[in-house]
């Protein structure tokens, strides 16, 4: 009996001694990620990018590409390279670019963002506030930050299936990579939630997941429709806002003769699975759907009268929303989407790189007044914007949690 206790004590001591070694392992892994990914990093105007192939394909955010004026980028050794646009996904905020005549370039590999668990350490690499240009030598060091996965499958408007992280992400990190400690690319960082309307990290950053990017990769490479890859839609399918928390999403009205009807959907069906994802709520379904391109073939599992069946669906093109449409006349652009909620008219999207984002507006903000008039419907906001001119200043009164604030924002020309 004594021997057993000796062995047990010995094993526990060994386990205890293993403690500092594991912490050193994290340090070694972070250093290894920084060493491997640094050379694959692309410095782009005011933002970041990451190489994904030896011949020079690289990813960044669409809103980073919108701002650059010359088609050139800089690599970690300070070298300037010529780049070209391959395809863009403005809704999903992804751009596929390429270094011209790229050969034998260092690149990173995709990881599986669907396998991420909350709490897993992740590393963000970017160029916040352009700090990499403060070097004494020609080579450029991007900024490396460490954090964890704070949440997965976050629905943040157009970032409909986002990874949330507390790794420090600031302006300039946009378009840059998010890695797990094995050096695999699990996301592209692009948005932050900010405090007091200051565009500085406050512990909440959002990344577009690699699972979404991989679905768009081939359509982007093929150039999309005039360079744009549209998102997917099931035409004729309306989703009920009925709360079925944890159970599924209820199908609402089905348009007669539509693709949804032909695919087999019926009003009242309970959608429980979309492709590889379980569906527990209507918001989750919209979030998943927002992460697929037009043309994607997916299997959807529905429950009808306690019987499960699988519907094979090919997603069609989602048309540009009224906010994104070009109506010919130059008009003012703010960069928000709004929807009716129980609390009033709330912002449901803030496009990156817009006056709305710069002013610190956030998804969830309830708009109380727009240019002095009380806001009772989404149209109260949309109609004012449609009639506006670039350079107009709008005054918005918003409520966020218990705080009410008045903000004046100058519009910019509509980018349509």
């Amino acid at each position: 009996m004594k021997n057993i206790f000796r062995i047990a004590a010995g094993l526990l001591i060994v386990a205890w001694a293993a403690l500092p070694a594991s912490a050193d392992a994290v340090q070694k892994q972070v250093a290894a990620v920084a060493k491997k990914a640094g050379p694959a990093f692309v410095f782009l105007g005011g933002g970041s990018g990451i190489l994904i192939s030896a011949d020079g394909y690289f990813l960044t955010n669409h809103h980073v590409i919108q701002k650059i004026r010359l088609m050139s980028a800089q690599l970690h050794d300070g070298k300037l390279v010529e780049i070209e646009k391959i395809g863009i996904d403005p809704v999903g905020d992804i751009a596929l670019m390429k270094i011209k005549n790229g050969k034998n370039l260092p690149f990173v590999e995709f990881g599986d963002s669907d396998a991420l668990e909350v709490g897993r350490p992740v590393v963000a690499i970017g160029n916040p506030f352009g700090l990499a240009s403060q070097a004494m030598e020609d080579r450029r060091e991007p900024t490396v930050t460490l954090g964890i996965v704070s949440a997965v499958h976050r629905y943040q408007g157009n970032y409909s299936d986002a990874i949330q992280t507390d790794a420090a992400i600031n302006p300039g990190n946009s378009g840059g990579p998010l890695f797990t400690l094995d050096g695999k690319l699990v996301g592209i960082n692009g948005r932050i939630a900010t405090r007091f309307f200051n565009r500085v990290n406050s512990g909440v950053g959002f990344a577009i997941p690699s699972s979404q990017i991989r679905r768009f990769l081939e359509p982007l490479k093929a150039g999309g429709v005039n360079g744009v890859v549209p998102h997917g839609l099931i035409v004729g399918l309306n989703i009920s806002r009925k709360e079925m928390e944890g159970i599924g999403a209820v199908v609402g009205r089905i348009e007669k003769g539509s693709s949804a009807e032909k695919a087999g959907f019926r009003e009242g069906d309970l959608i429980v699975r979309f492709d590889t994802y379980a569906v527990g709520h209507w918001r989750r379904l919209l979030g998943i759907l927002g992460a697929y391109p037009a043309g994607a073939k997916v299997d959807i599992v529905v429950e009808r009268e306690s019987k499960k069946s699988t519907l094979a669906v090919t997603l069609e093109e989602r048309p540009a929303s009224p906010d994104e449409e070009n109506e010919g006349q130059p008009r003012g652009y703010l960069g928000i989407g709004v929807e009716q909620t129980d609390e009033g008219i709330a912002i449901n999207n803030v496009a990156p790189g817009t006056p709305a984002e710069a002013a610190g507006l956030q998804i969830g903000d309830v708009i109380l007044k727009f240019n002095g008039a009380a806001v009772k419907s989404p149209d109260d906001v949309v109609s004012v914007l449609r009639a506006s001119s670039p350079e107009d200043e709008v005054e918005i009164v918003v409520r966020r949690a218990a705080k009410t604030m008045t903000i004046k924002i100058k519009l910019v020309p509509h980018p349509g």
């Binding site: 057993i4 526990l12 403690l19 290894a32 004026r69 060091e141 900024t143 420090a168 007091f196 200051n198």
Partner: protein, 343 residues
């Protein structure tokens, strides 16, 4: 016997699990390190007259006008700040911002003893200040022999709270060459209370002294943003003797020109815009001008211009060679400018 072996394994496995969990969190398990390091970290209590309000942030890029965002970091905290013991005979390093406009400085040691402090020397440009107190035998932090700082290294910023208890904020080294070789970058959270204290590694060795948390609007990231800086040991070894000899270094000279972010290679430092009220504006530089020479050095791009200016001080007179193209004509001008402060 097999049953007993199974029981031992059953005891062992959860212990391994706990060990692995605690170890895999780089920001956990700092208690021993803090206990080792804390005696070298001091609290600094500064008395000063009420300060003038900080100016509203100027847009860095005048083209980029947006809504006026109030500078919420404009007010300095009145709570004690932190410092690092760098000499056993009472030499304390802290930041220049921490002691700016001080009327009286009191240093409080780990054991609670208070000492009046005098400023031996400071550098506004490096944001460091060396204080002296009348104490002996103070503990100085060890250095790691032959240390090569690695991006990704786990570090912690140690400071003192207003009740004199130590604080620790862990993070990693984010970059090793910032502020033109003068500082390293870390995502360990820095704030008005812990800045001036040491940045240490997991063994309690000194890596640097944290700096650059100010109310200055040119540090757009502010405190607690995950963007922080520290002067590394190698640079401290150059700066501390300079400060000890009584040198007071002012602010870096500021020219006031903005670069076009999409640079054309080798066209000189092409100016996209001039900061109103700056030395460049007074000197007559215009948007579109290309600076091709600075104090006898050829300038091929903005990076080279920045590095050429980096060691200049406010009041330095410099000579620029500028290429100005108007319509068809291209002329080369010699422009003499006195560098000023950042407006």
């Amino acid at each position: 016997m097999a049953m007993r072996a199974m029981m031992i394994l059953a005891l062992f496995l959860p212990a391994l699990g706990i060990a692995a969990d605690a170890g895999s969190n780089p920001t956990g398990g700092w208690q021993t390190v803090v206990a080792k390091v804390a005696p070298s970290v001091v609290s600094i209590i500064v008395e000063r007259d009420p300060e003038p309000p900080v100016e509203e942030p100027q847009p860095e890029d005048p083209e980029q006008e947006g809504p006026k965002i109030p500078n919420i970091f404009a007010e300095r905290s009145t709570a004690p700040v932190s410092g690092t013991i760098v000499g056993a005979e009472g030499e304390i390093l802290t930041t220049h911002f921490n002691i700016l406009r001080a009327k009286k400085i009191v240093v409080r040691l780990a054991d609670g003893r208070r000492f009046n402090a005098t400023i031996k020397g400071y550098s506004a440009r490096k944001d460091l200040a060396l204080l002296k107190i009348d104490a002996k035998g103070l503990p100085v932090l060890p250095r790691k022999k032959g240390a090569v700082l690695e991006i990704g290294a786990v570090v912690a910023a140690v400071g003192r709270n207003s009740d004199n208890s130590p604080s620790v904020n862990a993070g990693i080294v984010s970059a090793t060459d910032r502020m033109y070789g003068q500082a390293i970058q870390t995502d360990a959270r820095l704030n008005y209370a812990n800045v001036g204290g040491p940045l240490v590694d997991r063994e309690g060795n000194l890596v640097g002294v944290t700096c650059n948390v100010t109310t200055s609007t040119s540090s757009r990231w502010g405190p607690n943003s995950g963007i922080g800086f520290a002067v590394p040991c190698a640079m401290l070894d150059k700066v501390i003797p300079m400060l000890k000899s009584g040198v007071n270094e002012g602010k870096p000279g500021y020219l006031g020109v903005f670069a076009n972010p999409d640079a054309v290679a080798d066209a000189g430092a092409v100016i996209a815009d001039v900061h109103p009220g700056s030395a460049a504006a007074t000197g007559g530089l215009k948007a579109g001008d290309a600076i091709v020479g600075f104090e006898g050095k050829p300038i091929a791009n903005f990076d080279q211009l920045r590095r050429a200016i980096i060691n200049k001080m406010v009041g330095d007179k410099v000579e620029l060679i500028v290429k100005r193209t108007t319509d068809e004509k291209s002329e080369t001008l010699v422009v003499k400018i006195t560098l000023g402060e950042r407006p």
